[in-house]
Assembly symmetry: C2
Homo-oligomer: 239 residues x 2
């Protein structure tokens, strides 16, 4: 299955392009296309902020206009917050990426297009896109940094693909019930000796409360050993 292509249309600042490359590679995306970059290409500012994402910058293709940049692609969604008064579906990032991902799984070449820093995509370009994706932000402060917007899409794409699966590290061995019971025996006998679990008619409830605390902890074997050491040391006579 092909990956999501990122298209930047007339970006202005090289350091934003570099940040985009970094955010892309964080999620394994390597296909960046740029339409008519203001300061030309390659751009040393981009290298500075790419933080080592040279693989992406080295692969970047530059095009003179949006139409040529998308010529070989099948489905392109426009990332925009502006209403373009077009009859076109508007998706959240999660919805839009799910659609693109489905298209890609059926063999389509898919992309997300982002406009320049100051004014975003022009309507002519949006009109060539199959859908619009809008990140819902604070209406009083809605302008996302370009690399952040790309990062959100790359993040959602990565989750959708399961590219980097949630690899829980191997859990340490949890304490057995027997180990827990030996700990409780130890603790409670020390407490009994010191008259903590008194009066006797309240003892069952107090014991239950204490056991609840430590069982909810779901401790490991090592942690139970530590707890027993604590009890042992606390219950020693002062020397």
């Amino acid at each position: 299955m092909s990956q999501l292509v990122i298209i930047l249309v007339e970006p202005q600042l090289g350091w934003n392009i570099g940040s985009v490359a970094r955010a892309m590679l964080n999620y394994g995306l390597t296909e960046l296309r740029i339409v008519n970059p203001r300061d030309g290409w390659p751009n040393p500012d981009a290298t500075a902020t790419a933080a080592g994402a040279d693989l992406v910058l080295g692969n970047t293709k530059v095009f003179p206009n949006f139409r040529e940049a998308t010529a070989d692609l099948n489905i392109v969604y426009a990332s925009t917050v502006r209403a373009h008064d077009m009859v076109k579906p508007v998706y959240s990032p999660r919805e839009g990426i799910a659609k693109l991902s489905e298209n890609a799984s059926q063999g389509a070449r898919v992309a997300m297009a982002f406009g320049g820093e100051s004014s975003g995509l022009v309507s002519d370009d949006v009109s060539l896109c199959e859908g619009i994706v809008t990140v819902h932000t604070n209406p009083d402060f809605s302008s996302l940094n370009l690399a952040h917007a790309v990062g959100i899409m790359a993040y959602e794409w990565s989750l959708m693909q399961g590219t980097y699966s949630h690899s829980h590290k191997e859990a340490p061995s949890l304490a057995s019930k027997e180990e827990m019971n030996l700990f409780f025996d130890h603790l409670e006998s020390e407490l009994d000796e010191r008259g903590f679990l008194m009066p006797i008619k309240k003892r069952p409830g107090m014991v239950k409360n204490i056991r609840n605390i430590f069982t909810r902890l779901e401790p490991t074997q090592q942690e139970v050993r530590t707890l027993r050491g604590i009890v042992r040391y606390l219950s020693r006579d002062r020397s």
Copy 2:
């Protein structure tokens, strides 16, 4: 319900702090705390990249250590990619934010803590957190920009709260069935006149295919007017 507090522990670069403030305010978060910022506070570099998120920078509180920064909070999760070999739940951003959001809805004050640019959170600080949140990234290029990591969490928080609901703009009026049928009448009569819908035994299937194309379009009234104009103009005799 209280909002998500963002804690930056020993951040180095002012422009990263400013980018964090911008990403926070994009999603309506305004409570930023900083532990021991390398270059002091306030920091003019932060103002430069905050892109107007002065509300966040003005609110920012500075603390000498992690413990004091979290003293009045109830639940703090640590954002980290490093394995800290601790018995602590590890969540994806979506899972972790769901947990924090649930806690906040029950009255808890919740926060996400992020380490500095070069080495992240130290184990002593992580040990004070109730959970770990890890963004799953490309293992060969895993280091997220600090503001990007904060942005992912703020984005997930905003989605979880439904802070900025998916406000579809009012849909333009769709064409009525009668308008569609008048269009089909027009189109098909022009095509009949030109012998397109031949031979006659294939006509029903051809008409059905054409109608399917335009009904799937679900056009607006304006679009049907446009389509009829196209048919009218195409079917004029050349002058």
